[in-house]
C-alpha cells in the first residue's frame, strides 16, 4: 500500500515546525532517501512560511492541510490553505547576478522550491489554494 499521511496545522510558525517535523518522521518511516528528504523539508518550509507570513487576513490565521505520499519513487506533498489566492509559481525568477549591494532579499524561497522540486502545480479551488510539489527520490540514501 502506498504510504500517505495527512495532517492539519495552524497557520503559525509553530504550525510550520509541526509540519516539517511530521514530514521528517514520515520520510524516516517510509525510507525516503536523505538527499530527497532535505529538499522536500526545505521546500515545505518555504511554502508554509510564505503562507504564514503573507496569508494572514484581517488577523485571521489561515488553516493548512498537508498531505505527504511516497509512491513509485516519487514523494508528493500537497498543501491546501485558506489564505487569499496566491500563486507562488507566478513569482519572478530569482536574481542571481546582481552584486551584493543591490541583491534583493525577497523571492528567494519560491525560487528555491522551483529548483529543488521536479514538478510544482498550483490551483485555486473555491476559497482554497492547492499547491502540489513532487520530487523524485534520488537514489543515494
Amino acid at each position: 500500500m502506498e504510504p500517505v499521511e495527512t495532517l492539519s496545522v495552524p497557520g503559525t510558525l509553530p504550525g510550520v515546525r509541526q509540519a516539517i517535523d511530521a514530514f521528517e518522521r514520515f520520510g524516516q518511516r517510509v525510507r525516503v532517501p536523505r538527499r530527497s528528504q532535505w529538499r522536500i523539508q526545505l521546500a515545505l518550509d518555504e511554502i508554509l512560511s510564505n503562507i504564514v507570513q503573507y496569508g494572514v487576513d484581517d488577523g485571521v490565521q489561515p488553516a493548512i492541510d498537508v498531505t505527504f505520499s511516497f509512491a513509485g519513487g516519487v514523494v508528493s506533498v500537497e498543501i491546501v490553505d485558506t489564505a487569499a489566492a496566491f500563486n507562488p509559481l507566478l513569482a519572478p525568477p530569482p536574481d542571481t547576478e546582481t552584486p551584493l549591494e543591490r541583491r534583493p532579499e525577497g523571492g528567494l524561497g519560491i525560487a528555491l522550491v522551483r529548483q529543488l522540486m521536479d514538478e510544482t502545480t498550483y490551483e485555486r479551488r473555491g476559497n482554497r489554494n492547492h499547491f502540489v510539489m513532487r520530487c523524485r527520490a534520488h537514489g543515494d540514501s
Binding site: V16, R35, L42, D45, E46, D95, L108, L112, L116
Partner: protein, 112 residues
C-alpha cells in the same frame, strides 16, 4: 537551536547545529546581531553541523554581508555540507561570500 560561539585569533566563530529555517533563524540572528555591531566585525559562520538552510537564513546572511562591507572587517563561511552548498549555488549566493572548506582557513582569512 544550539549555537556554539568561539573566539579564535581575534575572530568570532558561530557554529549553529541543526537546520536554519524560518522557525530557527531568529536564534541565529540574535547571536549574529551583536557581533555585527562591532566597528570592525570579523565573523565566521561554521556550517559543519547544519543540515540545510532556507531562504530565511540566506536573507540574514545577505544582511550580514552588507553590514560588514566597507568596515575593514569581514564575514566568512565554512564547513558547508552538500545540502547547504547546493542551496547557496541555486540561490546564486556563492559569489557573494568568502567560503572556505575548513574553519581554520576561514579564521585565517579574517584574522587581523
Amino acid at each position: 537551536m544550539v549555537i556554539a560561539e568561539i573566539h579564535d585569533r581575534g575572530v568570532d566563530v558561530l557554529a549553529p547545529a541543526g537546520r536554519i529555517d524560518t522557525t530557527t533563524v531568529a536564534a541565529l540572528e540574535a547571536r549574529l546581531g551583536p557581533l555585527l555591531m562591532s566597528p570592525q566585525p570579523r565573523v565566521v559562520i561554521d556550517f559543519t553541523g547544519v543540515d540545510y538552510i532556507s531562504s530565511a537564513g540566506l536573507r540574514i546572511l545577505l544582511v550580514a554581508a552588507r553590514r560588514v562591507q566597507g568596515t575593514g572587517g569581514g564575514l566568512a563561511l565554512c564547513g558547508m555540507g552538500d545540502a547547504v552548498r547546493q542551496v547557496f549555488q541555486l540561490a546564486g549566493f556563492v559569489p557573494l561570500f568568502t567560503i572556505t572548506d575548513t574553519r581554520d582557513a576561514a579564521v585565517l582569512r579574517l584574522a587581523p
